[in-house]
Symmetry: C2
Subunit: 216 residues, 2 copies
DNA sequence: GTCAAAACAGGCAGTTATGCCGGTTTCTTC
DNA sequence: GAAGAAACCGGCATAACTGCCTGTTTTGAC
């Protein structure tokens, strides 16, 4: 499962196995820029993602940066791909590690818990900023939406192929999946207002709900 | 219920019952500016909320705007108050209208449905933009967070006073309340990716879950 | 009617980011 | 090792906002 899903999401950044040194160098500075851009996103939202900041933070000159990413949106696009890839990777790393030897009925609850953990990461925070900004920034949306749809399709396809034993309940499982994704994102955004305690409790409640829906 | 809750949230904008004409005039232009600012938010996110745009859209001169709101953040603060007030008002208008004559067991599900409708409004869209921006904008957060907490406290207090029959299950009801709020926000943000159908189905599922949690 | 205060108007300097461009250094190829 | 390509550098003009400031008009109190 993990190989196929990750391969399908692999961004240009990490795809190349560089043989020539210039390619390595190029890839390295691109990665540094993307990482800095993610820092910008996390700290300042999509507004805070500026070419200046990204260059300065990564120690790359503005000229070099412009060589790799001609415009701000080019950089943002690279970040989008990177973040989607990492979003899936982070979840899979956790989930596949906890799921070994679990019986069928627990898979969903383990998956929910792993998803909640994967959501509390720097990369997911960046993803949230992009997702929100894409709603009001047409140009970003042209980059973000296709990537999001691709991610979603890959996810669903693999879920169906990986759990043939749930064939009769795929529709419900997909629905539960969507519920978990939506609720976790909502919890993240309400964290500051609700506070850690309530957030954690709702998280546990959701896991229990997932169990209930599986049982029924 | 509705009076107390709304009174507690009443923003400066609408609080005054103007007797002198200058006050009326002043209040009117302030309202026009706030409304335009909300349009800015909805269309361009917090980034798109600029003093220039707000002034231009409302037909108010930059000078006049500066007279009422010295800085961009002053305008944003007025929008925050306005949006929180309207958020509660929109919900109550809907909820109190649908709830008449309902039996106790249906109140939660009616409330959930009403909340889902209240969330699909221009005002709530503006609220979401503010909530997200406040996470990465310290200055905005200083305005937003207190307002959000006040809203939350008023909400909880009134819920407890309004439903004394649920005394033994307040903790659970508060939890369910948080779950609904978080999930609805998450659904909104995933609307474009998931599409209307899935969103609607998850919404229905959530309503059903709320019913299940009440029954148990 | 007059005078102060409130509401309104629009210009100005300063900041910050953007995209582009001419020039330099570092690799790669032959 | 020389030519060409790729990576890198920092300056420049431009654009969008912001906050402030000097006036002008409209209201309201006496």
């Amino acid at each position: 499962m993990q190989q196929r899903m990750l391969e399908a999401m692999l961004p240009a950044d990490l795809a190349e196995r560089p043989v020539r040194w210039q390619q390595q160098k190029s890839a390295r500075t691109r990665q540094r820029l993307v990482e800095s851009a993610i820092d910008c996103l996390v700290e300042g939202g999509f507004t805070g993602l500026t070419t200046q900041q990204a260059a300065e933070r990564s120690g790359v000159s503005r000229g070099a940066m412009h060589h790799h990413f001609a415009t701000r949106m080019d950089l943002a696009a690279a970040v989008v791909d990177h973040v989607f890839y990492r979003r899936m990777e982070l979840f899979l790393d956790d989930y596949l590690g906890t799921v070994v030897g679990a019986n069928d009925g627990d898979l969903l609850e383990f998956g929910t818990a792993a998803h909640w953990r994967s959501v509390q990461t720097r990369e997911y925070a960046a993803y949230v900023e992009l997702a929100v900004a894409a709603r009001t920034d047409a140009e970003l949306n042209r980059v973000f939406e296709p990537a999001a749809r691709r991610y979603d399709e890959v996810w669903i396809t693999e879920m169906i192929e990986s759990f043939p034993q749930w064939q009769s309940r795929w529709d419900k499982m997909k629905l539960v999946n969507d519920l978990v994704i939506a609720t976790h994102m909502g919890l993240l955004l309400n964290r500051q207002v609700m506070g850690e305690d309530r957030i954690a409790q709702v998280g546990k409640l959701l896991t229990r709900v997932v169990g209930m829906l599986y049982e029924e």
